[in-house]
Amino acid sequence: MQLRSLAICAIVFFTAGLAVASFAGFREFIPGLLEGALVTIQITIGGCVLAVVMALLAAMAKMYGPAPLRWLAVAYIEVFRGTSALVQLFWLFFVLPHFGILLEPLTVAIAALGLNVGAYGAEVVRGAVNAVPRGQWEASVALNMPRTLALRRIILPQAFIAMIPPWGNLFIELLKATALVSLITISDLAFKAQQMNQTTFRTIEIFTIVLVMYLAISILITVGMRWLESIAARGIARGRSQ
């Protein structure tokens, strides 16, 4: 029920924002800002997908990989957690070309944010896997399952549910960090806003719309994650007595 009210909230918020905007003479800014929002959403989705993939790979390598893979995973996690996303973005965008690697700005944006959030996500995955009771591993051994099978079929599905709320937070962090990409020539929502502001000086209108748009996207993420959680919970617990 909470889920539905949140969803309704997001929709009402968004349409109300649009309605107010179009009547109060905000209308001229809407198309340009929507264009920017679309880019922001694109980067957010791409970054989130990459972050999840990297987090799973890094966590598995760190926990169960052979020594070299383990070191690689540790290095990745420490480097990307220990330096700022902005520096990572600049490094991929300005430094890599010196080594002959020239990437599209959009690719750089998705890569930098995905790698950055993936490093935090790896710890989320690790925590959730470690939180699965030891008895589940032992039952898997008693049924003669190889470790990879036990991990894939028994442990990860149970860890998955515990991962969803922290991932929701990380996705929203990633959304907020997308504002950085305007610094590498991408016309995202923040970039569009600044650009319009510089030409029209209608600061109040523009940044109010931008605020509402970011908020609407983050509410959508929250709603999506709650929905995912309710589905996963249905499959696993059904009251959960163990």
């Binding site: 008895g135 032992e138 003669n144 079929r153 499959g235 617990a237 059904r238 163990q242």
Partner: protein, 258 residues
């Protein structure tokens, strides 16, 4: 002489400076039902866990059906077993835990199909049919689609027994499988074990605090004390006429508690 189904050959297990099992020798014949009793901390669970390969041993060798489990032959000598060898030999062994350890994200029947399908490579339809038979045997024919959290403790433990049997083990290990149950649920689980004993060719090794059940069901009782078997023998001898002072003390303490 026939080969024993399970053989502990001078097995020692230490945790740090604590010697939990001290050069244990134990042979169990095929089809034999052995009850393990003893005070808390005497190493009963550890014996089962070593046999299930959940715990490494420090010294000695464990054999299953004549084949070394903890070791493998390499150039004529025995070296510690690798993962592949462990998996091959421990396929003969199944275990039921005190806290059931069912997979909470799978229904009862999926719990019983998972390993046959993905470990033995059994076709799904066959695994389902067999799982249904086993659940029927443990009296849960009408609960196949329930999830563990929808079942009582006794029912969960019976699913766990069916799940272990689905792998067709030769040896079944039971570690205090009724200890976590409400008293009124103990009987239904013990009945299933009785049924297994009479209808299946299984070697059984059970740690239990149910002295009445041990006496009636087991072929042999081993009393563990201080990392060794302090006394063993037929249930009637041990329970009516214990020779060891420790055994006497333990039994009278247990009787008093009941």
């Amino acid at each position: 002489m026939t080969t024993p189904m399970v053989k502990f050959d001078k097995v020692t297990k230490r945790y740090g400076s604590l010697t939990v099992l001290d050069s244990l020798d134990l042979e169990i014949a095929a089809n034999e039902k052995v009850a393990i009793i003893g005070p808390s901390g005497s190493g009963k669970t550890t014996v089962l866990r070593m046999l299930m390969t959940l715990e490494r041993i420090n010294e000695g060798i464990i054999y299953v059906d004549g084949e070394p489990l903890t070791h493998m032959e390499k150039n004529g000598t025995l070296v510690p077993a690798d993962q592949r060898h462990l998996r091959r030999v421990r396929g003969n062994i199944g275990m039921v835990f005190q806290h059931f350890n069912l997979f909470p994200h799978m229904s009862a029947i999926r719990n019983c199909m998972e390993a046959p399908v993905n470990v033995l490579g059994m076709p799904k339809a066959e695994a389902r049919e067999r799982a249904a038979e086993l659940l029927d045997m443990v009296g849960l024919g009408d609960k196949v689609d329930q999830y563990p959290s929808q079942l009582s403790g006794g029912q969960q433990q019976r699913v766990a027994i069916a799940r272990a049997l689905a792998m067709r083990p030769k040896v079944m290990l039971f570690d205090e499988v009724t200890s976590a149950l409400d008293p009124e649920l103990v009987g239904e689980v013990l009945n299933v074990i009785r049924k297994l004993g009479s209808e299946h060719n299984l070697t059984m090794l059970m740690v239990t605090h149910q002295m009445g059940f041990a006496r009636e069901f087991a072929d042999r009782v081993c009393f563990f004390y201080g990392g060794k078997i302090a006394e063993e023998g037929a249930p009637d001898e041990i329970f009516s006429n214990p020779e060891n002072e420790r055994t006497r003390q333990f039994l009278s303490a247990v009787l008093e508690a009941n």
